[in-house]
Symmetry: C2
Subunit: 354 residues, 2 copies
């Protein structure tokens, strides 16, 4: 397969971890005979420094013309800590999602046996957890009309959803469940919210076309409990934007390390893959950042293009690295492995395990 990939490495540790993801993809390309071409473009604080714009037109054009975007991280204290800053790195990310029509955020959460001692949950709760969250990303209360009266005493936010916004992500979630454990849980608050009742109606209707998938429903407050009590019960979770924000961040800590979590944002025509961690400016250039989340985001990219065997090869290599403790110091304080060395190990393992 030929894939043109835009690389938006961004700020802080973004470039150094993304480099390991590229290294990994190159190893996959070698072994499985794919032709991956990478095209760099600037974004975030780096882009503000160069052009004054966190998402320059040229970068957007690269993203629109390539098959997928591999994203690093953005954010720099120079802008984040300056309340008078008019342009912020994060605006680049929001504009990019919008411009590419990325309406679904996918967040897999997995308990790695070697990391269970780092989880805040007891072993019997987290053991075997392997779920994925499909969060609607461009609608709901975050994007609804905002009002503040002139006196500044009454404020409001509107949460709005249309059936087509629910349908398109629901199909993606049902299909994901079909390739996994065949269970889909819709998280809503249908006992109180009109938008949730619409979600339930639309998702139930679509579910009729996926008779092999078990569909169930959970109120968001109950979901917040179940994520801690028994995360094992979940396969695919489907939910609206704000509930997804809360539940996926809650879920991100149960595995024991956010340095291992990747996410994908997908739409009809475009897709973007990134680690969930931030730009961690304090570690920039020190070759100490954990590259695994970025490497796993590359695996999600491969899955998106149905290269399942290739994605599995990355997962196997990552699990081997964890097992042999070829990890950065966030996972093992006594480790001697750098960002680069972890990337080398994973790429070599892929290249040589055939």
């Amino acid at each position: 397969m030929d894939l043109n990939i835009a690389v938006l490495a961004g700020d802080g540790i973004g470039p150094e971890v993304t480099q390991q993801a590229i290294k990994t993809l190159n190893a996959i390309g070698e072994v499985y005979n794919h032709n991956f071409t990478f095209k760099d473009a600037v974004v975030g604080a780096a882009a503000i420094d160069q052009t004054g714009d966190p998402l320059p037109e040229k970068t957007l054009k690269v993203c629109l013309e390539t098959d997928a975007v591999l994203f690093g991280a953005i954010g720099d204290p120079k802008y984040d800590n300056d309340p008078s800053a008019k342009v912020r790195p994060e605006q680049g990310l929001l504009k990019l999602r919008k411009s590419l029509g990325l309406f679904t955020n996918i967040r897999p959460i997995k308990a790695y046996p070697t990391l269970i001692d780092k989880s805040p949950l007891k072993e019997d709760r987290i053991n075997g957890t392997d779920l994925t969250i499909y969060r609607e990303l461009t609608g709901g209360i975050y994007f609804g009309e905002k009002k503040l009266n002139e006196e500044g005493t009454v404020a409001s936010d509107l949460c709005e959803y249309s059936d087509f916004e629910i349908e398109r992500i629901a199909h993606l979630a049902f299909k994901a469940a079909r390739a996994r454990k065949k269970k889909l849980t819709l998280v809503d608050k249908a006992n109180v919210l009109e938008t949730s009742r619409l979600w339930r109606k639309v998702v139930t209707k679509i579910g009729e076309s996926y008779p092999d998938i078990t569909l169930d429903f959970l109120f968001v407050d109950n979901a917040a409990m179940q994520m801690i009590l028994n995360p094992n019960q979940f396969d695919v979770i489907l939910t609206e934007n704000m509930f997804g924000d809360i539940i996926s961040d809650e879920g991100s800590v149960i595995g024991g390390s956010i340095g291992l979590l990747a996410s994908a944002s997908v739409g009809e025509d475009h897709s973007m893959f990134e680690p969930i961690h931030g730009s961690f400016p304090q570690a920039k250039g020190k070759d100490i950042a954990n590259p695994i989340a970025s490497i796993l985001s590359a695996a999600m990219l491969l899955e998106h293009f149905k290269l399942y065997e290739e994605a599995k090869a990355i997962h196997n290599a990552v699990e081997k690295a964890l097992e042999l403790k070829v990890v950065t110091t966030d996972l093992d304080p006594s480790s001697k492995y750098t960002t680069t060395k972890v990337g080398d190990f994973i790429a070599d393992y892929i290249a040589n395990s055939e």
Copy 2:
């Protein structure tokens, strides 16, 4: 002190656990020379059976005329599992909160050393946790305008807040922090929501009148993570209605048993105290339900009337019961103690420990 207390024991296990709370309050009255008078009234499924209304006028009148309401639990499968039921027990609770103007829900969360093995969190995370959540209860998106277009394809919910709704609960929360560890955390989503920005502005302003209280802010998605990672960091959490629903339910499972959690709902003129658990119809009349949450709700009632020493006496008795394993089978499967016996122990301990 003379206190007239309305007793709305409700459905399922409501009556039997509430009976233990009354027993406990009577012991307190004896020891500390208070005059507690109890007035029974029907609510929930029991009220529907008798009058067709889950909150009969007569019950509301009793609540309005007494100093506080001691509430049990409501809900009965007869109504809950019948989709055609027009009158539901829960409507009684919502109407009661509204009629009494109960705009603040208070939910303490505490890790009991004897129950840490039941917590889904590891001991080092949960050890020493003692926080309380102040949740706004009558505003926000649960009560805002709901719309569905004629075709049933577009739905919306409005989240609205006025400054006075925030001010009145903020004062209660700051005062609570003053009597505790002097820290208040506002949970919001001020980077996205206009209502959250209003909350932040109003609470910051009110904070100037409480210079002894440390005020900090947390986005709700981050709060959902921190509640698991390090619940110890919290003292008083203040938040709007829906965020409070999610965060307090999440928090309710970290201690290891919801059979120990009580809540208070308070307004300007009225107040209501109840266990957070439901009516548990399967256990009705079997004398096996855990009465401690109901008993602790009686302690919250005493605290509300500034009877701190008396409330402390209940807490001490509960802790002694846990320590000596004078508990129901939900906490110790081999236990021989019934609901009544646990109540007896706690009342006796109060009566005799002076």
